[in-house]
């Protein structure tokens, strides 16, 4: 950055970019500035006054450092650098005064406040406040507000920083929150107290610096210092948001976002944050075996022996394996190796029948990268509702749209509220074909754009003509100049956390093998005798009935219900595993607590079974397994890295040219809150689903 300025902070000279705020400049100089309303990712409100500092030569009063830019500082005499002070008596007095004012009405209920221990007001009152208050008047009380099933409000604690209002309006894109009334009566509310209609509401809890907005499901559960904190990766969608899992004993008590500029910035979506109660309900905590048509608990030994016996008896071409959406790469690798040992090519990880995953990795990745979306100036969405399938990516698109008034966004598929304006181009393949032929104004927009982006969702790929659509979309991207050496604007948006890892490992039908649909047909036609279902729940599992089915997973859902033997496994918070997000970024999820009962880590179960059938897999621990896996697919070892391919992406090789059916695209995610077994087990998610769908219905009427 060329435009910098020399300033002095507490008598030390420092050079800073002149578009920084004074607050940022002081931080750059290593000084801490207390603040409440200022938040890096939100607009500046300048209403709490906690960030006051002294500016030499300025007006003889403290200055709100968050609301003034370095470039607006006046130089000292003879062009000397402007001087800022954060440690003078004036600053100290100002901070004490502001703090005393803030506390005039703030209740002293820290002992019963969930924010206690991680409250900005508590911390800053300790650090910058005076010892007591001179105000003896009664404090004001504010009525609680209803904000939906996730947010608990204790509005008496609110300090009117309006961070929540700015978050909702700017980042989430829902104009639901506001500051009503004035002065002493000012209060935060949603419009007529309806629930906040967004899938990012949980972040309001994080931005609120005090305990006014807290988590409803977590209310009165724990104190932050009692929790064991484990950084990990979210598995609720294919974005791979970075999270911190806070657990006490065997229970996960909450999930918080962890900063990752490339993925989720510092937010996470509600499903990622609030799904944790689903981790305790409907759990498979011991093996089950079907006897007389009923699933009854069994020992590991009994269950493994039975499965081994069946597996040995089945001819190898009659054995099939399925992998689900929440499975880490290690488990997929183990299962694939097992199938290799057995010699069966029947395996697939695409339970939605998506026609994607063959060939070059870039055929099925979100190649642009999430953070690079900010450079896009034309975005075409095909058969996807990113708001439901990948809320963090949707938030990024919104950010692009907010920052660049000229960005053109077009959508082919279901017309939904995405929190930004877009041109609705059409419902299905007709529109896509005409765009591909170079017709329509949006084609021109894409063509004229410097960094065009095409995003294809599972709604367009999980259908008969998916491969042809993939091909058409890739060709379109190529023809508008989205595929270049320095920019790859062709993107596939996945919605299953384990999918890309499984595709990278090639968990796909081998030579002459059956794909997912083929395996289901095979079961019905009695051509498949044995199915190993590794956590696939999002298809009609009744169709497996003709075969002997082993289900391995964490929750008693659709897949387990139709199994003959159940192997209880760990969920994503209970085992270490690599997940590859839709960008192709491998990330390591960590164990936050142990799986319940007899449940075991995914790979270990498969390894144990392999021993029972006399085809023991060549690794005895996770480390060896990972080594073998990375040797086979090096990209899985490049933790937190994307890209890597040097050659130019060949768009024509994506999918396969073919004719397109005229069916309109339907988003792959019907109900955002209920997309996987863990979410379906969660009471909180069920409540959200009921409230939001109810609200959507009312809005539609």
């Amino acid at each position: 950055m060329s435009d910098t300025r020399v300033i002095k902070v507490n008598n030390r000279e420092i050079e800073v970019p002149s578009n920084l705020t004074l607050l940022q400049a002081c931080e750059a100089a290593g000084e801490e500035i207390p603040r409440f309303c200022y938040h890096e990712r939100l607009s500046v409100a300048g209403n709490c006054r906690m960030c006051l500092i002294e500016v030499k030569g300025g007006p003889p009063k403290p200055v709100a450092s968050c609301a003034q830019n370095v470039k607006d500082l006046r130089p000292g005499p003879e062009g000397a650098p402007p001087e800022l002070f954060t440690n003078t008596p004036m600053v100290k007095k100002a901070r004490e005064g502001v703090m005393e004012f803030l506390l005039i009405n703030h209740p002293l209920d820290c002992p019963i406040c969930d924010q206690g221990g991680e409250c900005d007001l508590q911390d800053q009152a300790m650090a910058y406040g005076r010892d007591g208050s001179r105000y003896e008047e009664n404090k004001r009380a504010v009525e609680e507000k209803h904000m939906g099933p996730l947010i608990k409000t204790i509005m008496t604690r609110c300090i009117q920083c309006t961070r929540c209002v700015r978050f909702a309006t700017e980042i989430a894109g829902v104009d639901d929150l506001g500051l009503v009334n004035r002065g002493e009566n000012a209060e935060i509310t949603t419009y007529l107290e309806k629930a906040v209609e967004s899938e990012l509401t949980g972040n309001l809890i994080d931005v609120c610096p005090v305990g006014a907005l807290t988590s409803k499901p977590y209310a009165f559960n724990a104190r932050p210092w009692e929790l064991r904190k484990t950084e990990s990766v979210d598995a609720m969608d294919a974005v791979g948001s970075n999270i911190r899992v806070d657990a006490r004993g065997r229970e996960v008590l909450r999930i918080l976002p962890v900063l990752h500029e490339g993925i989720n910035e510092e937010w996470i979506a509600d499903k990622s944050r609030f799904v944790w109660d689903g981790l305790r309900r409907q759990r498979l905590d011991k093996p089950y075996v079907r006897k007389d048509g009923k699933l009854v608990p069994a020992s590991w030994d009994e269950a493994l022996s039975l499965v081994a016996e069946k597996l040995k008896a089945a001819p190898k071409e009659k054995v099939a394996a399925l992998a689900g959406d929440l499975v880490p790469a290690e488990a997929v690798k183990a299962l694939k190796d097992l199938m290799g040992e057995i010699g069966s090519p029947n395996m697939d990880c695409r339970q939605d029948f998506a026609k994607v995953g063959e060939g070059d990795r870039r055929n099925y990745l979100f190649n642009t990268g999430i953070a690079n979306l900010e450079q896009a100036d034309a975005i075409l969405l095909i058969g996807t509702n990113p708001r439901a399938e990948a809320p963090m990516i949707n938030a990024r698109i919104r950010k692009t749209w907010l920052n660049n008034l000229d960005v053109k966004i077009g959508l082919i598929g279901e017309q939904k509220d995405l929190s930004y304006d877009y041109d609705y181009l059409g419902a299905g393949t007709d529109t896509l074909s005409s765009l591909a032929k170079g017709e329509g104004a949006f084609y021109e927009a894409l063509k004229a754009a410097k960094n065009p982006v095409v995003i294809v969702g599972m709604g367009a790929l999980a259908r008969e003509d998916g491969a042809a659509i993939l091909n058409a979309a890739a060709q379109l991207a190529d023809s508008v100049g989205a595929v270049r050496g320095d920019w790859n604007g062709f993107n596939v948006l996945h919605n299953a956390a384990g999918r890309v890892g499984a595709l990278d490992l090639g968990f796909l039908p081998g030579e002459g093998g059956r794909d997912f649909a083929g395996i289901l047909d095979g079961c019905e036609a009695r051509e498949i005798d044995f199915v190993y279902n590794l956590g696939a729940d999002e298809f009609d599992a009744r169709r497996l009935a003709g075969a002997f089915v082993v289900y391995q997973g964490s929750h008693g859902d659709n897949g387990a219900r139709h199994a003959d033997v159940i192997f209880p496994a760990a969920a994503y918070t209970e085992q270490s595993g690599i997940f590859v997000n839709t960008e192709g970024r491998a990330q390591m999820a960590n164990r936050a607590c142990f799986p319940p009962g007899d449940a075991r880590e995914d790979w270990a179960i498969i390894r144990a079974l392999s021993g029972r059938i006399g085809k023991a897999l060549p690794y005895d621990d996770m480390f060896a397994l990972r080594q073998a896996m990375i040797a086979e697919v090096p990209s899985l070892g490049r933790i937190d890295q994307v890209g890597g391919a040097e050659d130019r992406f060949d768009a024509s090789a994506a999918g396969a040219a073919g004719s397109l059916s005229s069916e309109p695209f339907v988003s792959a995610t019907a109900d955002y809150y209920l997309t996987n077994p863990i979410a379906r087990a969660s009471k909180t998610m069920a409540e959200c689903s009921a409230v939001m769908n109810g609200a959507a219905k009312v809005a539609a009427e």
Partner: protein, 227 residues
């Protein structure tokens, strides 16, 4: 003052009268494209003039008209105390309680309001009166004062005493004529009580003091300071 909340009973819908609608369309034209939200206060005010108060359907109607989220209009309507969020009496008394009026006896006037009308913010059974304490209305020279809003407009009544106010309210209740403005027999508009006490010298006004100018004051360029 307690937090202002919209009335429990809200009308099912709101629409402008034809002439107000035309007025709105005229107003919108005053603002450049994309800045229409600036009309929100005039619109709310016009709506209040039409209906006597600002209802939720009215706010929503205005929000749609100006392409604003509902909550933003709601914020404005709750911020400004001049917008009534519930129906008021036919005679809506706004009692100034700010310092000058307070020093001149607004506390006693408040007692009269309480006695004659009842609790603040409550409408009398016959629907005739309600009252609210407000901040300075800018007629401090004739403090204490009230403003009474009716369908026909907003009028000031100044130089009040408890007796005069009670009498005034009684007359209004009976539908009798009342005098608008100062109630002081010896005052004309906001002139001093009795007669003028300063600037009384007639020579100030007859031109006899005028003198020809010798030079235009401050016309000479200033010498730079310090030389």
């Amino acid at each position: 003052m307690a937090s202002r909340r919209p009335a429990k009973d809200q009308p099912a819908s709101f629409d402008w009268t034809p002439e107000n609608k035309a007025w709105c369309e005229e107003q919108i034209k005053k603002y450049p494209q994309g800045r229409q939200a600036s009309c929100v206060i005039p619109f709310l005010w016009r709506g209040q003039k039409q209906e006597g108060w600002v209802s939720i359907p009215m706010m929503e109607r205005i929000a749609r008209q100006l392409d604003m989220p509902y909550i933003r209009v709601y914020e404005v309507a709750t911020f400004y105390t001049m917008f009534n969020l519930a129906p008021e009496g036919e005679f809506f008394v706004q009692l100034c309680g700010t310092t000058p009026c307070m020093l001149r006896g607004s506390n006693e006037l408040r007692e009269v309001c309480k006695k004659v009308i009842g609790e603040e913010g409550h409408v009398t059974e016959d629907g005739k009166f309600s009252w609210l304490e407000v901040e300075c209305l800018g007629a401090c020279c004739n403090a204490p004062m009230i403003q009474i809003s009716t369908k026909d407009g907003d009028h000031y009544y100044e130089d009040l005493t408890p007796e005069i106010l009670e009498d005034l309210l009684g007359k209004l209740a009976r539908g009798e004529e009342v005098k608008i403005g100062t109630q002081h027999p010896g005052r004309h508009t906001s002139d001093p009580e009795g007669d003028n006490t300063t600037l009384t010298d007639p020579s100030l006004y007859d031109g006899s003091r005028a003198q020809p100018l010798k030079e235009i004051p401050n016309s000479a360029p200033k010498e730079p300071a310090g030389q």
